[in-house]
Amino acid sequence: MTGTMTGNMTGYDLLVVGGGPAGVAGALTAARAGLRVALLDAGPRLGGQYFRHLPGATDGKLHHGLDRFLRQSDALHASADVLLGHRVWTITRDPAGFTVQALAGEREEEPVALRGAAVLIATGAHDRPLPFPGWDLPGVLTPGGAQALLKGHGVAAGRRVVVAGTGPFLLPVAAGLARAGVKVAAVLEASGGLGLARHPVLAAAKAGEAAGYAATLVRHRVPYRTRSAVVRAHGDDEVTHVTVARLDRDWRVRSTETVECDTVAVGYGFLPQIELATQLGCASANDADGSPILTVDQEQRTSVPGVYAAGEPAGVGGAALAEIEGRIAGHAVAGLAVPEHLLLRRTRLRSFARALQEAYPVRPGWQDWLAADTLVCRCEEVPLSAVREAQELGATDARSIKLLARPGMGWCQGRMCGYAVSCLAGEAPQAPRRPVAQPITLGSLERISDDQPR
């Protein structure tokens, strides 16, 4: 199907981008209602980031709800076209519907185009890093990266690991590593003044799950410290130790100590992947955690007719909320009334998600952790001093800084540094503008324009 249209002349009723909890729930709901549905995901298996697993793995200890998700996946394979290993790089709109452009095959790069009457954006999120001296040393990973290694590939990220950053996700990452036999030297939560026993997650709906993580940390004697952070990673070719700081409420350093470790898993919340939708013109806004998200109505419709969003792109809230939003979107696409219990459950989970975002804000003091030569942009190797020079030359916003000093102009297109650059510029993080969401060769582009029926 080189560069040609997949599906029949009129295409699908619904194209779902993303095969995590939101995408699978949305696709399955719509397919069960009789719609012709195709789901595309870049990975080799359904599951997204949350339900990552090796083939055949059903270790319930590592994966809350994995068995249930796998049953949904089986049902979806039987009722819709599931296109794995498909990286969607753009979606275009015309009066008759939408065209999703993807590259199939993780190595071969076969251009594929699908037509659909509606689109569900269920593209999830990635970690939101903050730069600090040494954050580009090998051995420094994001918590999501450490979790992906463990759950998706059966590999412990290191032997002696410091888990740091902010947000409830640090708990399952640390607990998973401890259970895998890794020495977790410390869990450092930059926010809060509360200890593990008064962790906000324990006070709310996910208490059972969080209590399990907390008990695991206690059992493995993992120190859990609040108002603490990794402010520098040291080492020549790999991290060998870190400077750990006690922070004040604005995250300024009060005192420091050295902690030996071979690995750091550090991240400060999540950034939803919304660029496919914003390129379609979907409206966005900043969520309580500062991340740009898609604006959706009661039935998960974005501002562009025919485009729906579910899961993290509509606001970071975790797998349970993502699944509910997917099911709501599936009903809406199929023209079915959304069951009241789904709407109620979404309201509860969303208010919980909002409370968590407010409990773990990123405070401005992290900017003082950086030295002049600290890389802000890993790809283009742009140090803080270059960002400051650009500002002195009159670049007052993140976009001008990017044009002058090149942070965000490299391979990752600002996914890793964009949030930090916005903070350094003193502005709210902007919605991404990335016409091409995945790297694509000129050869593939040529084949698409040659082959495609117009």
């Binding site: 993780e106 990635h126 090998p138 990266g145 590999v155």
Partner: protein, 83 residues
Amino acid sequence: MNQDGFEITVDGRPVPVRPGQSIGAALHAAGIRSWRRTRFGARPRGLFCGIGVCFDCLLSVNGAPEQRACLVEARPGDSVSTS
């Protein structure tokens, strides 16, 4: 699922793989955590985001350059070269 493991070669040296693992995960498990140098500062890089977003972990697989090690699932006999 009881699938046997297999090997790939990394700069000519054998590295064991569990079926389903990415090349990056296999390297990491073998203690190889840095396999690229940056263009300007020649700084060492390996896995960072681990999910295909940061592009730090690029390497060549069977001659094809700039593959994301964290995403590409290893296949028996793959020949990986780092720079």
